[in-house]
């Protein structure tokens, strides 16, 4: 239980999710990817609108606690996290309302190499 006098410390410290991992990231900035097409009945951070969509890796965030596994009580299972850009047209087709893009933070297990398309 968090006691009253520890609240300020806890708020100031936060709960960073960055973790060291042994593996190297599979994707490099600039690579094209496609997201997986899986639906999940359990907690996930892959929004439905971004399933099975082409995108571009624009940043690497380090390895972070994998929220899907953590929420399922499977432990932290940290994995590489990327900043991925999805052009509005590829997400929304004719529904796109102009030049733009959506940026998402996606774990490596959500991503397939662009060649897999």
């Amino acid at each position: 239980m968090l006691p009253k006098d520890m609240v300020a410390v806890a708020v100031a410290t936060g709960a960073p999710s960055l973790r060291p991992v042994e593996t190297s990231p599979r994707f490099q900035v600039g690579e094209t990817i496609r997201t997986i097409n899986d639906t999940f009945a359990t907690h996930t951070r892959l929004p439905g609108y971004a399933r099975d969509k082409p995108g571009t890796i624009v940043g690497y965030e380090g390895a972070h606690v994998f929220a899907d596994a953590h929420a399922a009580g499977q432990g932290e299972c940290p994995d590489h996290l990327y900043c991925v850009r999805f052009d509005s047209k590829s997400l929304w087709g004719k529904g796109s309302d102009g030049s733009g893009a959506v940026y998402l933070s996606l774990w490596e297990s959500y991503l397939l190499a662009g060649d897999d398309q």
């Binding site: 520890m6 609240v7 300020a8 100031a12 960055l18 929004p47 509005s88 996606l106």
Partner: protein, 205 residues
């Protein structure tokens, strides 16, 4: 027929407020939370954190090009220089608005928001309408906020779906050359750091 006055009773709280009260009471009785800690958390987020912190960061970035470069390169570390960090701001990116690019933030999955620089989110930020529409038709939504984005400008929507938090660095209004950081800070609004409004200069006070 009995005349029932309205001044002899009070309306019950909303069902949501009652549910929260019931959960809080149960958690206190089970020894899971310290009621003093709850009061302390509410005090911090109501009175100590908020968008004036973000406004200081923006004014510093506008005034100090070297700081701005560090802020855009590594938001988390540059914020630490100003003593800013903590819960819901553990990993931060600062998004610079320019004449070519307009950035706006959302959390489509829930209501993630950069607490360390902006405090708690406004209720519209948590609404299903904002969260679902801003990714699909950002120009239409921004227009409803009174912000027209020209066709030749790209709109980038940052969906805070994981543990990375974002804050927008709005464009510095024209006519503010020579203004002090304190003067600049006063111009910066919460909504401009979410990316749903732009800033205009008013006469320096």
């Amino acid at each position: 027929m009995t005349a029932m006055g309205h001044d002899d009773h009070t309306l019950p709280p909303s069902s949501l407020a009652l549910r929260i009260k019931a959960i809080e009471t149960l958690m206190v009785e089970k020894g899971k939370i310290d009621p003093g800690a709850v009061t302390e958390i509410v005090d911090i987020f109501q009175n100590k954190l908020g968008p004036r912190i973000g406004a200081k960061v923006v004014a510093r970035a506008w005034s100090d090009p070297a700081y701005k470069a560090r802020l855009l390169a590594d938001g988390t570390e540059a914020l630490k220089e100003l003593g800013i960090g903590g819960l819901q701001g553990e990993a931060m990116h600062i998004l610079e608005n320019t004449s070519e690019v307009h950035n706006v933030i959302v959390c489509t999955l829930c209501s993630c928001y950069p607490w360390t620089v902006l405090g708690l989110p406004p209720s519209w930020y948590k609404s299903a309408a904002y969260r679902s529409r801003i990714v699909i038709e950002p120009r239409a939504v921004l227009a409803e906020f009174g912000l027209q984005i020209s066709d030749d400008r790209e709109v980038r929507v940052y969906d805070s779906n994981a543990e990375i938090r974002y804050m927008v660095l709005p464009e510095r209004p024209a006519g503010t050359d020579g203004w002090t950081e304190i003067q600049l800070e006063a111009l910066v609004t919460r909504d401009s750091m979410i990316g749903v409004s732009a800033l205009t200069a008013v006469a320096a006070g």
